[in-house]
Symmetry: C2
Amino acid sequence: MNYQPNPEDIRFLQQQVLQAGASLRALPAFAEVDDALQTQLLEETGRFVGEVIAPLNRSGDETGAHWDNGEVRMPPGFKEAYQAFVDAGWPALSASPEDGGQGLPAALDAVLYEWLSAANHGFTMAPGLLHGAYECIRHHGDEALRSRYLAPIASGQWLATMCLTESHAGSDLGLVRTRAVPQTDGSQRVSGEKIFISGGEHDLTENIVHLVLARQPDAPPGPKGLSLVLVPKWLPDGTRNAVRCERIEEKMGLHASPTCVMRFDEATGWLVGEAGRGLAAMFVMMNSARLHVALQGIGLLDAAWQKADAYARERRQMRAPVRPASRGEQDTADLIAEHPAVRRILDTQRAWVDGARLLAYRTAVQLDVARHATDARQREAAERWCSFVTPVLKAACTHQAFHGASECLQVFGGHGYVREWGIEQVLRDARVTMIYEGTNEIQAIDLLVRKVLPDAGAGFAACLLELRDELDASRENEADAQRRMAQLRYLGTSIALAAKSDPRLPYEVADDYLRVAMLTLMAWAWARIERAAPTESGRWAAPAAAFRRWLLPEFDMRLGLVKRACEGVSPAR
Amino acid sequence: MNYQPNPEDIRFLQQQVLQAGASLRALPAFAEVDDALQTQLLEETGRFVGEVIAPLNRSGDETGAHWDNGEVRMPPGFKEAYQAFVDAGWPALSASPEDGGQGLPAALDAVLYEWLSAANHGFTMAPGLLHGAYECIRHHGDEALRSRYLAPIASGQWLATMCLTESHAGSDLGLVRTRAVPQTDGSQRVSGEKIFISGGEHDLTENIVHLVLARQPDAPPGPKGLSLVLVPKWLPDGTRNAVRCERIEEKMGLHASPTCVMRFDEATGWLVGEAGRGLAAMFVMMNSARLHVALQGIGLLDAAWQKADAYARERRQMRAPVRPASRGEQDTADLIAEHPAVRRILDTQRAWVDGARLLAYRTAVQLDVARHATDARQREAAERWCSFVTPVLKAACTHQAFHGASECLQVFGGHGYVREWGIEQVLRDARVTMIYEGTNEIQAIDLLVRKVLPDAGAGFAACLLELRDELDASRENEADAQRRMAQLRYLGTSIALAAKSDPRLPYEVADDYLRVAMLTLMAWAWARIERAAPTESGRWAAPAAAFRRWLLPEFDMRLGLVKRACEGVSPAR
């Protein structure tokens, strides 16, 4: 079965629970974005994704992208689907009107990309990188680059890549060796080899714009010596630039997206931002790019859930311990959805999708606020939220995409391990999201070591305070979420103290800390959902119960584990 | 890199920690099996697996088994490797001398199959099923079947399959529809379609012996109506039987092992055991087959660990928070094995492999005791151990194979997601072990609902008592393991009580119960290893510490979760 977007779920979360409309309309840029427009956009997005993109998922995996002498042919139907995507204006949804964009909130773009990823992760990789390049050039490119590249990238006429990794430089970009030699005409000559370049070459668009991390000859070693250089496949004068796709990787999944080895051989490019400030230029888009990957995780998990749910409501095996009263004695087997172990898997994954969605949409709204609020304090608070919550969501949502898809695969038994039902593709595709855009280990260290510890937890505490104030302590689940927020704050303090004796400790427990943070955020999310949800319906009640019964216990385990690790430190270890 | 067996680790666990030799030599069948013979066999086994089988793993995955008009061609080199395997007598290692076997303990066979699976899971599937068929025919076949089939199966000259699953009958074999019609000459005519038949067709051996679960015309519906029928590919008179491989599945992994759809079209066969007692005939080999799958899990996890460990001791990225004193300031990047998050992954997976190995080897010894002890009480205790511990190991070891391999993949960053390093193959191959030979959900229900609850936990308590008596309460870690055994016993009682109000509850928490049981058994295993290990070496100290710091906390989480679920039951739910 193909993924089927469900606009009603999203509308409930964004409008009823989050009341995102009010937050967005308070921003002058989105004063006209009312709930009716949002609802209409959700319907249109869902239709397009379900009808045009989702049907290409299976064949994209089986045929894959194909390399031939430097050229890459995308799977059948991708070129046409991409053209339809561009023609309908989807790439420009959140781009600025002055660049030809529609100027709509990131909060709506978030849903588009979540659904695209759920429907066809491989396809989504192509337009997925366009936004980061757009933001980079918009904020750091000079007038000449902006006027030449912003509009065609915003519209999706040209696609873009981020060329960062080299074979010896992955998590540690400070080791990058690609060289950029300044020329007298102000351009750069770029030479080196980059690996893991998604969409480095393809036949979807005429031109491809590479943003390349490189080092000028006199630059110092390490991250401070890096510059960002824009290197187009086709130069403005119509000549082919000296950049070539050497090969594409054979991967575990994501076969529809070519992962390219790109060779730059004295290619012509231009600095984006100042020399030596390449990493800073890229960081402008880091939060939105990481949120984008978190949304991929949510989408993939929802896709896995849809498949497992449909299968469980159709497959019969054995009698359930408690049978529906209407079931006759002659029926020897019940639906596997009626078996408690399967029910638990389905409700638990539903709890992850729904809770994580609320958090991701809130973060998308905060991205909008950070960009568009007129009040500086409001922008600052929104940036703080994005800074702390984005790594949590990136790591937790992608972790769950893979592990939850594996649970959903288990619902199929042996049928899950064969291609036929498509669930094993979700698992293979999802695995990469735990790695790219900063591995999940790097996200955990980013959160704890780079963000929480340096100000002794004050910044994160401020984010949690905002959440706490939204809750009503007279309701049991909301008071419970508040208590967990307090425990999370103290945990940061304990780690900061213990780290003085053992500098390794925060790196060892960063992942546990991130999980405690995610479960705290999820407790807020489910408390909010439960308050808004109609009590008579099982749609939200079953995952809410699953969250408390089966997921929240991890909170205490991780909390205790970190506390014991803090108590156990000795400088001698 | 190819998998490299490490006989020294096994020797330490089997001889120093478990003192398996003494238990085995107490059995008349193995009076001559001394430590020197065991050590020599381990060396030979390791050499054969490392030199002949391991090098075919990658090409087996990439080329895969190939179906062509009913025939299946195995990947290049497999036929020759299998012949070498047969010529060296490996299939017959644990078969009875009267059938041409070497009559060696299952405890040694366990190591062979663990290493084979680690080195080449796809290859191992072929001989892996031979033992089950051998035991089935040996215990339930009549004289004619035994004399015709036992010797060629024991020697590996012919291979065998278990034909159980049908497209609508997976976990619920009671739904099987394949028919066996008795003939006047005492044979059966078998008709139907079986799916997921590993090694249903191949070019490794001339004949293939299928054991088929089928229903006679007058048999009742459900599991009690099933009979087991032996259907050879080639009949004794040299004619080709009416059994045909319709196609092979496209799977997530395990490409070297053909998973066949088998069509029986009035094929000739003979009953193995009595009509209607087919499931019982199969159950004779269930514990050894499930232990075999647990060993696959252990082997695959060790293979993943070896790859990640080697990579982490060669790849340099960023500075570690604490650097070796000898490292110069000019070195900008440290080994990733020196980074705490990577160290934690490696030590934790090592803790799983070592602890699970000890438990699996102990269980293999108990299989030997159950078969060969002269004292009936001893046999009974050994059977009890196998009955309770086997489902725990099957589920926990295969779960960890997949999830631990994913952790090991993460050590490689983006390099883990591409084929080159082979780690993604381990992940894909390992996934199926959570499904076949009874899904892990079925194992959990088998343990709790079918075995622990019916006698109010008395049988399992007897197993734990044996373990408890091996421990010395004056040592902290051993006393800790004893406390956990007591908690596990009480947990069974709590569930039994709560189940009276809510019959769904045991099915919902069976997986948590199984995890608590596994962590209790692991606590015993690590307490035993720590007592025997040389204190000056980090080889056993690092995983021992990782077990206590990072793995044991799950015990309390699961325990608490189940207890709360028990307290929360209400008949009205």
